[in-house]
Amino acid sequence: MKTKIKLRQVQFLDEALKNAVEHDQISPDQAEQVLGNYAVSEGFNAMKAWLGIGAVLVGVGLLFLVWANWAAIPNFGRVVLIVVVLSLSLGVAYVWRMTQPVTATAFWYLSAIIYGAGLFLIVESYQLQVTQSYIFFLWALGAIVLGTLKPTGWMFFMATALLALSIMVGFYDALMIRTAVVLAGLLVINKYLAPRLLFTAALIGLGLLWYYHIMQYFDVKTLYVSWGYLTIGVLLYHLPIPFNRKACQQLGLVSLGIGGFILTFPAIWAEIGAFSSGNIVSTLFVLSFIGYLLWLLGRVEPLTLGIIAALLLRYSLDERYSIALRATIFIIGGLVLLAGGFYFERKHHRGARHVH
């Protein structure tokens, strides 16, 4: 499988290889072979963007038009109208797939919008007692089904976002199981059909959101929820997950950052009653957490600088500490961030020198 790189990078590689051939460092065949390993990625395409915006505008316009005259259309007519418009949009995507692939893609996205809007319109016209969560869930299922037509597209992201919405607008026992099953399905799709790094990150994000809501549902204390985030984060970062590891590690850092940040508050520890005020145990935690973050910093993880900055900001704004102490934290924090930046820059230069 060819690695996709930007057009500019291909041109640069081509130039560099030609140079190497001219200086007899490699043979023309070898240059051809190396170049053959890469393909130009599609990248940002203004035409795509225009067509995408066009599709959305048409979709929204149609919906407003239908909405404005909705009351005049009988119930069955409404359903027929929705199905006809959906069929037309999907049909255009099919017919134009070869001759106008970009427009076909725009209609493919439009079909997803029409389908989702159709769900809401059907519920409204028949006054069905269906929760918004369930409608978003059905919309996500539809987006997944549409996504299978073109697995490299962004449709699965849309499905992930819709699932997140369905969790956020209402979380109940049936939905928590359904969402978990669909999330597992999306992970399988991510592994075998659409192995994008960003998709993995979105799915882990959805998993973390699901975890938060399930903890809320069972009224689990913040201390345990935070420890959960911290543990999940550490596992995601350190476990040798063979698939899209970078995404797992970055989301792992986000998760452990959230968990660690919340655990710096003494009140969270005092909540379970085992620690009277929580001051000592939270201080011990903060010290070990910062030690761990500094160790991560040594592994060149720029996100840890963000976590450290958030922690410093949290202490600097905490009015329980004196102004002098808060000023000291500011200075130490600034120095740590400067040192971190300096360290990263040196590493970067060293890497660049190695390339030269």
């Binding site: 199905v83 070869m98 037509l149």
Partner: protein
């Protein structure tokens, strides 16, 4: 993109069919209720009434009666007992499924018992707990929402619903129930 032309038409067709089926799935339960549901009359309490935007119908808001403490099973009583007054229910309890058994008294069906498990027989409604409140007589009541709309747009040419709301007279809802799921057909004010 859209490669693999051999099976592509079938794939598009399958996707289209799945989307239509997913949309239709929303209508399965309402149709079942309409076809196989039992028609009952429930007493409702009007909470507000106003004309809708087109002024052709009125928007009528109502509540189905709250469940008295005596009608609750042990699990539900524990929940009510654990909740301090004016304190919101935890999310888990707030959305807990409740099965409310109904019994016919005259023409109207009234609530006889509410439990956290599905009754073996008889007519029942499936609802979810929303809150606990105290009645005027300081009795603790469990507030439950069913799969019924909390408001309905209904034609009221003679102003009977409007009067029922103003005069605090009895309002009955015609409801169809199938395996605990309900659908509101109509509201009828009953003259004293």
């Amino acid at each position: 993109m859209f490669t693999n032309p051999l099976s592509l038409f079938v794939k598009f067709l399958l996707v289209w069919l799945t989307l239509v089926l997913l949309m239709s799935s929303l209508a399965v339960r309402p149709v079942l209720i309409q076809v196989a549901g039992t028609k009952v009359y429930l007493q409702v309490t009007p909470t507000s009434v106003r004309p809708n935007l087109s002024l052709e119908e009125i928007v009528f808001r109502y509540d189905v009666e709250d469940i008295p403490y005596a009608a609750l099973d042990r699990d539900l009583r524990d929940i009510v007992d654990s909740v301090a007054e004016y304190r919101p229910l935890s999310r888990r309890f707030r959305q807990m499924t409740v099965y409310v058994s109904l019994e016919q008294v005259g023409a109207v069906h009234t609530i006889t018992q509410a439990s956290s498990t599905r009754p073996d027989d008889g007519l029942y409604l499936i609802g979810s707990v929303t809150s606990v409140r105290s009645s005027d007589e300081h009795e603790r009541l469990l507030v439950v929402r069913y799969g019924l709309p909390r408001q309905t747009d209904q034609a009221d040419p003679e102003g009977r619903l409007l009067h029922a709301f103003r005069d605090d007279t009895l309002v009955l809802a015609t409801v169809r129930i199938h395996r605990g799921h309900a659908r509101l057909d109509m509201l009828h004010p009953v003259s004293n």
